[in-house]
């Protein structure tokens, strides 16, 4: 039996407007981390904590030790307090339509309330109520194969169509593709967990995606506007992403990477991790294959995920029409070869023993009909892993 259940913590009281404003200002201080925020708040109201952090009140105990331990922290906080006066931060939040949510508040996600590393405050653009639905996290590498990105997009869309909220990080690559897919489904409410303030969408290239997610669902951050996407904030972000998901799907990942941190955070919280299997020698599948070896569940198609969260649409009988022209004999041979890995005219000609002209015709026809995509002479299959639409018919 869990100790916390024997001695339940007293319920946290809801925050007052002054609490929220001071929390936001505290979180906006330079070098602020969640443990420091928690230490500052222990036994103090946010207002008192702000006074201690900015040096207007003498620190005691843990905070004095912290100042002792980290040289320059006291000065940095005092200096950045000049730029982060509570009223300024509150105004910035208001201008960006960012709500400040503290753990005792009604909107604070219940999944995070009991989290061992509970955020001290959350900043939300959009409607945090989007989280009151079934939620699947989709993460992966920033450098996916085109096909991997397509797989993420496909999963995102299919999940969204099944009414599931796609939770992801808005990063380049898999994350963005998953959200792109989710947005394709009308009425979907995707949720993004990001590592910086809402004033400057990061990465810049996903600014549009960011705004769309905020408009339809929610963009959640642990940090107020003005906080930059420092590298150390991303692994922290991943724990929130994992905690907010019922299951986490890793689409493509290298042997090391942020998506594996998310998977670990999920596993620590007892959240099931799914991984899309990939070719064993493809770099962007090394991490996901390793996850599978370590006990993650394989995700062959969207049904695997839906069944895992108790939604089974297999008998629902939705209609999908593939308008693409059915490949001819040569095309079918080539498409089968391409299922496993990308190829070029040269490599396909070598595998089939056909002349270059015949091979080129087969590949160009498949590309034109939307079965393949070509970049730099490499042709990749556009069949998402797990899509297998061609086999159904």
């Amino acid at each position: 039996m869990n100790v916390t259940q024997l001695f339940p913590e007293p319920p946290i009281p809801p925050s007052t407007p002054a609490d929220r404003v001071h929390l936001a200002a505290l979180a906006g201080l330079e070098l602020m981390t969640t443990p420091r925020l928690v230490a500052l708040q222990s036994g103090r109201t946010p207002e008192e904590a702000y006074a201690v952090a900015t040096g207007r009140e003498a620190p005691s105990g843990a905070i004095a030790a912290l100042f002792e331990q980290t040289r320059g922290l006291r000065e940095r906080w005092a200096a950045s307090a000049e730029r982060n006066r509570p009223d300024d931060v509150a105004e910035r939040c208001a201008n960006l339509d960012v709500q400040i949510v503290a753990p005792g508040d009604h909107g604070f996600p219940p999944q995070l309330v009991d989290d061992p590393r509970r955020p001290a405050v959350l900043f939300v653009q959009g409607d945090i109520g989007a989280l009151d639905a079934r939620r699947v996290g989709i993460v992966g590498t920033r450098n996916p194969t085109r096909r991997g990105a397509l797989t993420a997009e496909h999963f995102g869309q299919e999940l969204a169509e099944a009414g599931v909220v796609v939770v992801s990080g808005l990063a380049l690559g898999i994350d963005g593709a998953a959200h792109l897919g989710a947005l394709k489904s009308p009425g979907s409410r995707p949720v993004a967990v990001v590592a910086n303030g809402h004033d400057q969408p990061y990465p810049k290239r996903h600014g549009h995606l960011w705004r769309q997610v905020a408009e339809r669902g929610a963009v959640i951050s642990e940090w107020p506007p003005g906080v930059a996407p420092d590298p150390f904030r991303f692994p922290q972000r991943n724990r929130i992403l994992a905690a907010l998901s019922e299951i986490v799907l890793v689409v493509e990942s290298r042997e090391r990477g942020g998506s594996l941190i998310t998977a670990r955070e999920a596993a620590e919280r007892g959240i099931d991790v799914f991984a899309v299997p990939g070719p064993i020698d493809q770099r962007s599948s090394l991490g996901t294959n390793r996850l599978l070896a370590d006990g993650a569940a394989p995700a062959f198609d969207v049904e695997c995920l839906l069944v895992a969260i108790g939604l089974d649409h297999r008998r629902a009988g939705r209609e999908r029409v593939d308008t693409r022209r059915i490949p001819d004999a040569d095309g079918t041979v080539v498409l089968d070869l391409m299922r496993e890995r990308p190829g070029s005219i040269e490599s396909i000609a070598q595998e089939t023993g056909w002349a270059l002209g015949r091979t080129a015709k087969a590949l160009v026809t498949l590309e034109r009909d939307g079965w393949l995509v070509e970049v730099g002479g490499w042709y990749e299959s556009l069949e998402p892993i797990g899509g297998s639409r061609r086999d159904e018919r």
Binding site: R142, N143, P144, T145, R146, R147, G148, A149, L150, E153, L172, G173, A177, L180, R205, E252, Q282, R283, S284, D322, T323, R324, R341, P342, S344, I345, E346, S347, A349, L356, G357, R358, T359, A360, K361, A362, L363, V364, T365, R368, D369, G370, V373, E374, V375, G376, G377, W378, E380, L382
Partner: protein, 507 residues
């Protein structure tokens, strides 16, 4: 006394006759050169004086005036040295003035009186109508190709004076200079595997198409490009003359018999300046690399590393086959109909070959590729992916087809094109495409589709059809109407260099 001696100077790749007038007369001792000489010509005063004195003649210590006519044109280069010296000798009556009648002189003098080679003797010899042309021994081979009269190679001013004073016959110098380079063309059989790249090279050779190789370092892009000239037929007489003129003017080493008969191959480094590429310079307007590769191959390795301005300046000559260089005082047009072959890595790290196989994200990739402007990329008829050869093939080391075999097919294809339309396929006019390169309906559908999807610009469409025409011509039996396979191969040899902005999906 007065003497007038024919000589010539160089502008671009053209010689211009100059008559060197020397007057030796009363007055305070002095030596003046007038008639718009530039610094290099003015320096020749000191060389000429020393050379004359070193050759056993005496320097007239009276007033010497040299006029370079026509005097409105700027003159540069050291090639007038010899003419000035001869003029001084004749005007001061140290050699009989009749002895140099109808003779022309080109050459630089050393302080010891030796006659040294200068660039551009071939074009200069072409504009001098004289009976005897005296040139440095090192330039005799090129002068002989174009000169109207006899070419008299000389090594020393003393030899020349002896001939003029009739105390010795014309010296009989070996006309092959020491720095002449025999042409060496590497063979295609050294290339292992690479069926696509080989095919592309053959098509490029047969149709004169511009070609871009994209592949990781060590894939053999440079090796392939260097083998293209070996697949081309020898230059015809007119081309050979034009190329020789340009090479002579640019100071490029000529083959032993002086005449450039094989298509040149130039591979300027990617740090080359704009002037080095298109030609220029203050007064003489030296031909640039694009002109030196006239009728041959210009190879630009590491294309994105070239300065953007350099890449853009070659676009216009690429279309027009000649380059016009203008300076304040003069303007020259130099032929530069070259075949462009370029090579680049697929991404900055170079290893980004297989999709998802490298560190470079789309943004880095786009930045790298973006250095090559779209219009320039569009001008490559062939854009081919080159892979590192298979390990098995490399170890197996079975030689591929040799250049000689491919050259036969290329020659046959070029003959077909010339018999049909009088020009190579790359110069086939857009309005003649339907007549000379008709398509089967399926092939036309395929092309229309590519255009509708925005994969092919109007220029790309025409270029693609020209490439398809060449692929047809390369078939052993030829092909009147081009089928879908031909078009597909041409399309397959036009790979997409930039990653698409969004994941597109036709469904």
């Amino acid at each position: 006394m007065f003497a007038s001696v024919p000589s010539a100077v160089l502008f671009g790749a053209q010689g211009h006759p100059v008559s060197v007038e020397v007057h030796v007369g009363k007055g305070l001792p002095g030596f003046h050169v007038v008639g718009l000489p530039d610094e290099s010509v003015r320096e020749s005063r000191d060389r000429v004086r020393a050379a004359v004195m070193s050759s056993g003649a005496s320097w007239p210590d009276i007033k010497i005036t040299v006029n370079l006519a026509p005097s409105r044109q700027r003159k540069s280069g050291s090639g007038l040295d010899l003419a000035i010296a001869v003029g001084v000798l004749a005007a001061s009556e140290q050699i009989p003035i009749e002895s140099i009648e109808r003779m022309g002189f080109v050459g630089e003098l050393g302080l010891d009186g030796s006659i040294r080679s200068v660039p551009g003797v071939a074009p200069m010899a072409g504009v001098l109508s004289v009976d005897d042309l005296v040139v440095p021994a090192g330039n005799a081979h090129e002068a002989a190709i174009v000169a109207d009269g006899r070419v008299r190679p000389c090594r020393h001013l003393r030899e020349l004076m002896a001939v003029c004073n009739e105390s010795a016959p014309w010296p009989d110098h070996d006309v092959c200079p020491d720095d002449a380079v025999p042409t060496f063309e590497p063979d295609l059989s050294d290339v292992i595997g690479q069926p696509m790249a080989r095919r592309a090279l053959e098509i490029a050779a047969a149709g004169g198409h511009h070609c871009l190789f994209v592949g990781p370092p060590g894939a053999g892009k440079t090796m392939l490009a260097a083998r293209l000239p070996g697949l081309l037929p020898p230059l015809d007489r007119d081309e050979a003359l034009a190329v020789t003129m340009i090479h002579s003017a640019a100071g490029v080493a000529l083959p032993p018999d002086g005449l450039v008969v094989r298509p040149p191959f130039r591979a300027p480094h990617h740090t080359s300046s704009q002037v080095a590429m298109v030609g220029g310079g203050s007064t003489s307007l030296r031909p640039g690399e694009i002109s030196i590769s006239h009728c041959g191959v210009l190879f630009m390795d590491e294309l994105p590393e070239f300065a953007p301005r350099v890449m853009d300046t070659i676009r216009q000559p690429l279309e027009e086959g000649e380059v016009s260089v203008s300076r304040a005082a003069l303007h020259v047009t130099i032929p530069s109909r070259f075949q462009l072959v370029a090579a680049m890595n697929p991404c900055p790290c170079g290893d980004g070959n297989e999709p998802g196989g490298c560190e470079c994200g789309d943004a880095r990739l786009r930045k790298y590729v973006g250095r090559v402007s779209g219009p320039l990329l569009d001008r490559f008829d062939l854009r081919v992916k080159v892979d590192r050869p298979d390990v098995a093939q490399l170890i197996d080391n079975r030689p591929g087809e040799s250049s000689a075999v491919v050259r036969l097919r290329v020659a046959a294809a070029r003959r077909r094109a010339l018999e049909r339309q009088g020009v190579l396929n790359n110069r086939l006019a857009a309005r003649d495409l339907d007549r000379f390169a008709p398509l089967e309906p399926a092939a036309l559908d395929c092309l229309r589709n590519e255009m509708e999807r925005g994969r092919l610009s109007a220029r790309g469409y025409h270029r693609l059809r020209r490439v398809a025409r060449t692929i047809g011509d390369l078939r052993p039996e030829g092909a009147e109407v081009l089928d879908e396979e031909t078009i597909a191969l041409a399309l397959g040899m036009r790979v997409r260099i930039r990653p698409p902005h969004t994941i597109e999906r036709a469904a």
